[in-house]
C-alpha cells in the first residue's frame, strides 16, 4: 500500500485514540504529559495513564512479530547525539506544555492558539536542524 494511504489509515487510528481519551476520560491525550505523571511514581497521580502507557507498551512488544516494518529502523547517529536529542525532546515538551500529540493533534484539533504556535515553532526548528545536519536522509 502507498505510504500516503497508510498515513491516512494510521491518522484515523490516532484521531480515534485521542477522541476515546477526550470523551471517555475527559482530558486531552498527551504522551509527554502522561509520562510526566507516570514519573511521579504516585499511583493516584498516574492513575489511568499507566493503563494507557501499558496499552502502548503491549503494541510495542507485539510489533516485532506482527508488523516489523514499522520499527525496523534503528535511529541513526552516535549515542551521544541520541542521548542529547532525548533530553531536549523530553525537557522541551515539558517546558512547552506538550509534545506532538498534545499540541499538534489535540490542541490543533481544538483550534487552540498556543498549540498552533507550538506546532509551527517546533516544525520550523526541526526543519532547521535537519537542514543544518545535511538533510533528512543524511
Amino acid at each position: 500500500m502507498h505510504d500516503y494511504v497508510l498515513g491516512l489509515i494510521g491518522g484515523v487510528l490516532l484521531g480515534l485514540a485521542a477522541l476515546v481519551v477526550r470523551l471517555g476520560i475527559g482530558v486531552p491525550l498527551g504522551i509527554s504529559g502522561f509520562l510526566s505523571k507516570a514519573l511521579s511514581f504516585r499511583p493516584k497521580v498516574a492513575d489511568w495513564r499507566l493503563a494507557f502507557l501499558a496499552g502502548m507498551a503491549l503494541v510495542a512488544l507485539l510489533l516485532p512479530s506482527v508488523y516489523p516494518v514499522a520499527i525496523s529502523e534503528v535511529p541513526s547517529g552516535g549515542l551521544g547525539l541520541i542521548a542529547l536529542a532525548g533530553l531536549l525532546v523530553g525537557a522541551g515538551a515539558r517546558f512547552a506544555g506538550g509534545c506532538t500529540s498534545g499540541h499538534s493533534l489535540c490542541g490543533m484539533g481544538n483550534l487552540e492558539g498556543d498549540s498552533i504556535v507550538a506546532t509551527v515553532v517546533f516544525i520550523a526548528s526541526g526543519a532547521a536542524t535537519v537542514f543544518l545536519m545535511g538533510g533528512g536522509l543524511g
Partner: protein, 135 residues
Amino acid sequence: MSRYLLAFVAGALFALGLAVSGMSQPSKVRGFLDFLGEWDMTMLFVLGPAVGIYFLGTRVGKKVLPHKFVSGPDPEKMGFRFFAGNVCFGVGWGMVGLCPGPAIANLGQANLPVVVFFVCLLVGISVADRVVARL
C-alpha cells in the same frame, strides 16, 4: 466501560496508529522536516484525518457529553519558557526523528539507541518538571 480499560484500548490504538502511519519511523519524520531536500509529505496525510476526527468528534462530544468539557487545559502562557521549550523539542526531534509516542512504539526493537533515547527522554521530562515546580 471502566476508564482503565478505555485508557488501555486508547493506548494500544495510539501505538498502532503510529506504526501503521509510518510515523514510528525516524526517516519518515526527518523526511517531513526536510523541506529543502527530498520532502516526504506523509505526515500531512497522517495529521489531516487525525486532527479532523478529533475536531469533529469534540464538537459532537461537547453537545452529547457536556459534563466532560467543564474544564479543559489552560492555554500555555506564550513566554520565554514556552518558546524555548518548543525550540528545544524541535531541535531534538529533528536530530533523531523521534518524539515521545514513537519512542515508546519503537521500544520493542530493544536496540540500544532507542533505549538510550527513551531513558534520556524520561530524564529530560523529570528534570524539566522539577525546574518548572521551582519557578
